[in-house]
């Protein structure tokens, strides 16, 4: 049976309302303060260190993002890998169930819109907010770099940094979709927040360890101990990388490495034979770097769409009555 009318009827008003609600909410302020605090520390310290760099580095500007200063054990991008999910979860963990609990859901759905528009509008509103927040952060870092390094970035550096911003938004989008999914599944906002945060901790801390244990327990003992044949060892490493890439955090980290460290030629193991003729430490052109991390970008976007689709299917089947 076909229904009449566009599923996007009313998408605009829903999107605008979500967007303006997010931007004016106290929660957004708190989240931004959190992100700023986390970002300011590595950026500030690495800027101090970079000012003293004397050797010429063609990608000095990008080092603001990637270098881990001596006094703090993480770089700006590593901090982002950790706090972007938190920002996204904070924006979306209660987006559907709070409407249900405030009993606004049935009233809004009795207006001439489909559920599609409501869910998509909420997602896009959150994504736009996330994009604005990350863009602001990005500009702050850029501005600080200009002021404190006194060195304008080259065009290719700007392009790489801009690509990094897009990847960061896509990474946030995955977590936004995940939080939205939990907000559809659970009626209680606390439960959905807890589940989303649990998933975040799982991928941030537990998953790499789980993968390591899993892979080591599957291969023969001599391979695990590092004495296996080269093809066996290679297979083990590739399995491990493949499993780790199920985590959006891994995808994001790899994409960042490829984009912001132009010297990166591969994200997996390299055999000496493959390095023949390569000039060590020479940067790759931007296009080649992009090609290198294209699977990671595709993976992030696909993950975002898949998780959103799951939320969509569950939401369509849900009863609206209390």
């Amino acid at each position: 049976m076909r229904r009449e009318g566009s599923p996007f009827t009313g998408l605009g008003p829903v999107f605008l309302k979500e967007f303006s609600d997010h931007l004016s909410s106290a929660r957004m302020m708190v989240l931004m303060l959190f992100v700023l605090a986390f970002g300011a520390l590595p950026v500030g310290l690495s800027l101090q260190e970079l000012r003293n760099v004397t050797e010429s580095d063609p990608f000095l500007f990008l080092r603001i993002f990637t270098s881990a200063p001596q006094r703090v054990p993480f770089s700006f991008t590593a901090a982002l890998a950790l706090v972007i999910p938190l920002l996204a979860i904070g924006l979306a963990f209660d987006s559907v169930n709070s409407e249900f609990n405030r009993r606004t859901l049935s009233r809004v759905l009795s207006q001439p819109i489909y559920r599609d528009a409501l869910l998509l509008g909420k997602f896009l509103g959150g994504l736009a907010t996330l994009a604005v927040a990350l863009m602001a952060l990005w500009l702050i870092v850029f501005g600080a770099g200009l002021l404190l390094l006194g060195l304008p970035p080259r065009g290719v550096e700007v392009a790489r940094a801009a690509a990094f911003l897009l990847v960061a938004i896509a990474y946030g989008g995955v977590w936004l979709a995940a939080a939205l999914l939990f907000s559809v599944i659970f009626r209680s906002t606390a439960t959905s927040a807890l589940c989303a945060l649990g998933l975040w901790l799982f991928f941030a801390i537990l998953w790499p360890l789980v993968v390591q244990v899993l892979v080591l327990s599957l291969v023969a003992p001599e391979v695990a101990a590092g004495f296996g044949r080269i093809d066996e060892t290679l297979a083990m490493i590739q399995t491990q990388a493949g499993l780790e890439r199920l985590s959006p955090n891994t995808l994001f980290t790899e994409a960042v490495i490829g984009l912001l460290n132009p010297e990166t030629r591969t994200l997996g193991p390299v055999l000496p034979a493959q390095m023949r003729g390569a000039i060590m430490g020479a940067p790759l052109p931007f296009g080649q770097s992009l090609l290198l991390i294209w699977p990671q970008i595709t993976g992030l976007v696909a993950g975002m769409i898949m998780v959103f689709a799951a939320a969509y299917v569950i939401f369509q089947r849900q009863e609206v009555r209390a």
Partner: protein, 312 residues
């Protein structure tokens, strides 16, 4: 088009093996107030949600203003106003901002929005608090705001789910006045409620739901006649004489039953009040009270569910 605004034929909703709504037929006419009554879980809200296309039906057909809510939900929802049970608004926004959001969803042209909001808020007597945040509203005000939304929408049909539940008597009275106002505008109103005597005062027709079926349908008087039997029941209290003895043999009296609170109930096929009074006085009794027992919806409701308890 006929003056039917809602036409329901054989509507069914099954959850697993349980039939929440079981093949109901119902017609709502233009400009009437129609009451859906029945205990919780009788299928009232499910029926309402199916009318709006918010829940899919398992069988049967529905036509709302000539549209099918399953296939043309946007057309239906554009013309039908719905006030859910315990309606909610965005507390952090003002009433005006809440209604503006709805107006944008309704695609009301931007320059008309504020005028229509002011007009609607005046109708529900909330004009002076339109720019206050909804968090400060009482429950009664929220319900009225919900009706303002329907007024702003210029809906042809208003469906109100338990509009008076949880309201104090004064707020209930105000709300029912507003609902009568909707009727005067030619809006067909369908409401579900537990507050039976209140419903009685506004509804033109009612349907009594029981276990997913419509048990009774008609005006309050018709319902009373179906359940209580036709007739003129009266209530008599008197001192100094045996009422049952003194009205014995009186023409038209069918049954005399003593009531628990004192006095007796006399069922007759005609108005026997004058004759009963004369009998009691001539028997030397002091007539304390003689009242016509209006069939109240509450009595009908209670009696119906007493009689059908075995079935229920």
């Amino acid at each position: 088009m006929s003056d039917q605004v809602i036409e329901i034929r054989g509507l069914t909703k099954a959850y697993g093996g349980h039939r929440a709504v079981d093949a109901i037929d119902l017609d709502i006419r233009r400009g009437e107030i129609f009451g859906l009554l029945g205990p919780n879980g009788a299928g009232k809200t499910t029926t309402i949600l199916m009318l709006l296309g918010l829940t899919e039906s398992s069988g049967g057909t529905v036509s709302v203003l000539g549209f099918d809510p399953v296939r043309q939900p946007l057309q239906v929802k554009r013309r039908v106003g719905y006030l859910p049970d315990a309606v909610g608004f965005y507390d952090h926004l003002t009433a005006r901002e809440n209604l503006r959001y709805t107006a944008r969803l309704l695609e009301i042209p931007g320059r008309e929005i504020d005028g229509r909001i002011d007009e609607a808020m005046k109708r529900v007597a909330l004009a002076d608090v339109v720019d206050r945040r909804v968090a400060t509203y009482s429950r009664g005000m929220r319900q009225r705001l919900g009706i303002a939304e329907i007024v702003m929408k210029r809906a042809e049909v208003a469906i109100l789910d338990e509009p008076t539940s949880g309201l104090d008597p004064h707020a209930t009275h105000e709300l029912l006045e507003i609902i009568r106002g909707l009727k005067r505008d030619g809006v067909a109103v369908m409401l579900s409620s537990h507050l039976l005597d209140r419903v009685q005062s506004v509804c033109d027709r009612v349907a009594l739901f029981n276990r997913g079926r419509i048990a009774l349908l008609g005006t309050v008087v018709e319902l009373a006649n179906q359940v209580m039997g036709a007739g003129h029941p009266i209530h008599v209290e008197a001192t100094g004489c045996d009422i049952a003895e003194s009205v014995r043999g009186l023409e038209g009296v069918q049954k005399v039953t003593p009531e628990a609170e004192g006095g007796v109930r006399i069922d007759a096929d005609r108005d026997v009040r004058a004759a009963v009074a004369a009998r009691i006085v001539s028997a030397g009794g002091g007539l304390q009270r003689l009242s016509n027992l209006q069939p109240s919806l509450e009595t009908v409701y209670t009696r119906y569910f007493q009689e059908n308890r075995d079935a229920a």
